[in-house]
């Protein structure tokens, strides 16, 4: 059927059209507010897609990803303040250090399963900022944090630069995550999520696969952390190692559907937009109202769509395709 092929073409081109439109959006010289939302939105998409590699595909729910984000942020800040090297280069170093850290803590932590793994990573996320606060304050900033010099451009250009970089990061991490899901590596991770000991008996080196996924996830999050730090220009242990951030990443991925590559993208998009809309929707009311509604939406979705939104969309698309095929058969009869 000709419609079918067109539909498939459309499905492939639409995401790219959206990406291009988003990329040229700053040319319309919109309000800086929208650029800031864009930066946050793309950051969460990138974080969610990176988290999904270990949390969604392998089913190891990490609640400590802020640790990797913070490590990336601190590496970038220290390199800029002490050596004047651009964060756009040192963010790779931040990613590498976060990956190294993940590799080391992965030895004990990845032996744990289910809620024990989640708890251990949660504690990891809480322990790292305490360590950073107690490092020599003259170098590491201690409890005062670190200030970075601004990019020497005006505020609009500044925002646009970070907007574009975060958009690129979101696209790249999503592509990586999608590629993994369709690869042999992803198939192995999925089988670990389904049943780890069976996966081992059919020849999967689960320790190696889990470590690879955890390290890769941390590497990407470290890079994002570095860029985020430069965007904020001021970092403090309680902001870049924020446990709320770790939880937010998990929520968005689960909300969208953590077993799919689209899940974190959709989850982050919906939750960030709802959050922003709610904050602006009740201008006079106390901030708690928007928090209440946000919480309510989360509860409802988790109650009625426990596998995430993407799961339902995919099922719906599948049933529609089956219907179309049925009709075609009937027509030909």
């Amino acid at each position: 059927m000709m419609d079918m092929r067109n539909l498939n073409m459309l499905k492939k081109t639409i995401p790219w059209v959206i990406i291009v439109l988003l990329a040229v959006f700053p040319l319309l010289s919109p309000d800086i507010f929208f650029l800031s939302i864009g930066v946050i939105l793309f950051m969460y998409i990138a974080l969610g897609s990176s988290w999904n590699i270990i949390g969604g595909y392998a089913g190891y729910l990490s609640f400590g990803h802020a640790a990797f984000l913070g490590i990336g942020a601190y590496v970038v800040a220290l390199m800029l303040i002490n050596y004047g090297i651009s964060p756009f280069i040192t963010c790779l170093l931040g990613g590498l250090l976060a990956a190294l850290f993940a590799w080391i803590v992965g030895f004990p932590v990845l032996r744990l399963k289910g809620p024990y793994f989640s708890l251990a990573t949660l504690c990891l996320g809480l322990a790292v900022p305490v360590i950073v606060i107690n490092l020599p304050a003259s170098i590491y900033g201690g409890a005062t944090g670190l200030f970075m010099p601004l990019l020497p451009v005006d505020i609009f250009v500044n925002r646009t630069i970070f907007y574009e970089i975060m958009l690129a990061l979101a696209v790249v991490t999503t592509l990586i995550s999608r590629w993994i899901l369709q690869s042999k590596f992803g198939l192995g991770l999925k089988s670990i999520r389904e049943n780890e000991s069976t996966a081992e008996t059919i020849g999967i080196n689960s320790t190696r696969l889990k470590t690879m996924a955890f390290v890769l996830s941390a590497f990407l999050v470290g890079i994002i952390g570095g860029i985020y730090a430069y965007y904020r220009t001021y970092i403090h242990p309680t902001t870049v190692f924020d446990t709320n951030l770790s939880i937010q990443i998990v929520l968005m991925a689960l909300f969208g559907g953590a077993t799919t590559w689209q899940g974190p993208v959709i989850g982050a998009a919906i939750l960030v937009i709802i959050d922003q809309v709610l904050i602006t929707a009740f201008p006079g009311a106390p901030a708690e109202i928007s928090r209440l509604v946000y919480g309510l939406i989360l509860v409802l979705v988790i109650m009625f769509m426990p596998h995430g939104i993407m799961h339902y969309i995919l099922n719906w698309l599948k049933s529609r395709q089956l219907e179309a095929e049925d009709q075609e058969v009937q027509k030909s009869c």
Binding site: K184, L187, G188, K190, S191, E194, N195, S197, T198, A199, E200, T201, I202, G203, I204, N205, S206, T259
Partner: protein, 234 residues
């Protein structure tokens, strides 16, 4: 081909297997019998490395494997089809089969093995895109065995493949195993269907409370009064 020498296995302080020795020759069809809690599953899990033996040795094709991790043992062609099927329910039937050919060796023969599986269990071909969790019990068991065949096994061990199947399906399942054996595969079968197992297999071991209580040719065991009384009720 497989040689277990005086194996002891513990769960914490609890000893589950006592001084068990078993040997399987190439192209043999061995059956391991025993009542619930006799240690059959523990024994198989120990052979593939999911449990570790506290004493004794396990040799496969002349190489000691009792300290190797499961994935390395699998790569040597010693495959276990676990009790209760243990398929990946949220993955499609085809993905489940492909998982059996994860290692580089079996990856080269995916197509031939897939044809082989479909030849033994034609019904699976119709289920390729379906989530494995939605298959019927019998189909899931076929899938579990199919996944094992995808790994190019030289020695295939089956833990209660007839569990939860209707008597008719159970018989079909067991006769499909007989076919595999005539095609040259070495089989170790654990089952509660004592009568059928003794008729199908060549030799059998009877486990009791973690110890080998009896061993011998199936024809001899079938005639044995003790076996007939305790395991067949006749």
């Amino acid at each position: 081909m497989l040689e277990l020498k005086s194996i002891d296995v513990f769960y914490g302080h609890l000893q589950a297997i006592w001084d068990v020795s078993i040997s399987v020759k190439s192209n043999e069809f061995i059956s391991i019998l025993g009542s619930n809690g006799a240690g059959k599953t523990t024994l198989l899990n120990t052979i593939v490395g999911l449990n570790k033996a506290a004493a004794g040795s396990i040799e496969y094709k002349g190489i000691r494997i009792d300290n190797l991790p499961p994935y390395k043992i699998c790569a040597m062609g010693l495959i276990l089809i676990p009790e209760g099927r243990k398929i990946f329910p949220m993955m499609s039937m085809l993905e489940n089969l492909q998982m059996g050919a994860y290692l580089p060796g079996p990856r080269k023969t995916v197509k031939q093995n897939l044809d082989k599986v479909y030849a033994i269990y034609p019904i699976l071909k119709k289920r390729a895109g379906q989530l494995a969790g939605t298959l019927s019990g019998g189909e899931q068991q076929m899938l579990a065995i199919g996944r094992g065949i995808m790994s190019n096994p030289e020695l295939l061990m089956l833990d209660e493949p007839t569990l939860g199947l209707s008597p008719k399906l159970a018989l079909e399942m067991l006769s499909s195993l007989k076919n595999l054996h005539t095609q040259g595969m070495t089989l170790v079968l654990v089952s509660q269907e004592t009568m059928q197992c003794l008729q199908l297999a060549e030799r059998a071991y009877v486990l009791e409370n973690g110890r080998v209580a009896l061993e011998g040719q199936c024809s001899t065991l079938l005639a044995d009064d003790k076996v007939r009384k305790s395991y067949m009720g006749i």
